[in-house]
């Protein structure tokens, strides 16, 4: 009983035939019938699955292309409507843009009415829209009975935020003080700074 418990370190089979080794082609045939067979089956499964999946994808693609053709035909039919819509949009957007850039010359005139001294005589008022939006230039030519009234008028123009860059560009003294004032319209509503 004690001898049977001794562990064996090596197993030597002395009955193996040590003749000529197996040929390579024989090994190839053996492999082809064992592992190779499974590899081929595995590859075939993958290839056939891919083939079937490809059919499905082809079908999906054909469906999509049909839908695209249908939609394209529908849109082509709406071409005249599309142009009408685009024209209407262009018309409305052009009006909106023009309106937003429209110069207001009534508000500055109303401002002049309130700030021009009664004794002052205005001979010319000019508004010009040569500057970039929203600025327009203005020019006032007139006669003032005294320099004090003129300076009050200029001060009032400078304090009103409808006007900017107000300058006295010309002044001459005869019986009355002749003057020319130039400046820019800011586009803002009239009001005192």
């Amino acid at each position: 009983m004690a001898a049977s418990k001794i562990p064996t370190l090596f197993n030597v089979n002395l009955l193996i035939h040590r003749g000529e080794e197996e040929k390579l082609y024989a090994k190839l045939i053996k492999w082809a019938l064992s592992s190779g067979r499974f590899i081929v089956i595995f590859v075939e499964i993958i290839t056939i699955s891919a083939f079937v999946y490809r059919y499905k994808l082809d079908g999906d693609l054909a469906d999509l292309q049909d839908q695209i053709k249908t939609q394209a035909a529908y849109i082509t039919n709406l071409k005249s409507d599309e142009q009408l819509i685009r024209n209407a949009q262009f018309q409305i957007s052009s009006l909106s843009k023009l309106k937003s850039e429209k110069a207001d010359f009534i508000s500055p005139l109303e401002s002049f009415n309130t700030i021009i001294p009664k004794s002052m005589r205005i001979t010319n008022i000019t508004f010009d829209r040569n500057l970039a939006y929203p600025k327009s230039s203005f020019s006032i030519t007139g006669q003032s009975p005294s320099n004090l009234e003129l300076s009050v008028f200029i001060k009032s123009l400078q304090q009103n935020h409808s006007f900017s860059d107000v300058n006295l560009t010309n002044i001459s003294f005869e019986t009355q003080t002749n003057f020319t004032i130039t400046g820019n319209l800011t586009g803002a509503k009239s009001g005192i700074n």
Partner: protein, 200 residues
């Protein structure tokens, strides 16, 4: 004895296939070679075709989505345009006509100045009169029609003229306004401005 044609076999290949390690690992080498060959010649082309198809499907789906969005937008746009009140459409067309409509511009200016004493020196810069197109399907561009005119009257009348011009049924943009006292005590108003129209 081997032929000299097969000398390479004996020199290079035979030592390899007779090598005992090669012989013992032969099934694994066969498996590896088979997998490589099948991967290159069978699986790879199929997978590549599938990837191409999937990409093509994705592209087509994007195109279809854009087309569906466009047709939806067109339908909504047409519905909105049809639902727009005819009076509003007429007002828009009057503000910005699809032809120079010079007579309409002159009428607008004259109507604006009815309260003043007189209208003079009405000028409109040369413009090519285009035909009235019945089918407005062409692309439009915004064109200008430059005009100028003088009128005389009292200050309050002239400010009313300026106000009327800016509120005319045709869209008019003033570029220059000159109020000058004339010798007789009246005031002369000189207005320059632009009317607009859409050209096909």
């Amino acid at each position: 004895m081997a032929d000299s044609r097969y000398s390479r076999y004996y020199v290079y290949i035979k030592p390899v296939i007779t090598n005992k390690y090669v012989r013992s690992f032969a099934p694994y080498i066969f498996s590896l070679l088979a997998l490589i060959i099948f991967t290159i010649f069978a699986i790879r082309p199929t997978v590549l075709t599938i990837i191409e198809l999937q990409k093509s499907i994705q592209d087509n789906q994007k195109v279809l989505a854009v087309l569906q969005k466009k047709s939806e937008d067109l339908t909504n746009g047409k519905r909105n345009l049809d639902n727009l009140d005819q009076e509003i459409k007429n007002k828009i067309n009057a503000k910005l006509p699809t032809n120079p409509a010079v007579t309409n511009l002159i009428n607008n200016l004259q109507t604006s100045a009815t309260n003043s004493a007189s209208v003079s020196a009405l000028q409109i810069q040369p413009v090519t009169i285009y035909k009235n197109t019945s089918d407005p399907t062409g692309k439009l561009t915004l064109e200008e029609l430059v005009f100028s005119f003088n009128t005389q009257g009292a200050y309050s009348q002239l400010t009313t003229v300026i106000d009327n011009v800016t509120k005319a049924s045709r869209y008019l943009n003033l570029t220059s306004v000159v109020l000058s006292r004339s010798g007789e005590g009246g005031i002369t108003l000189s207005i320059s401005g632009k009317g607009y129209y859409l050209k096909e």
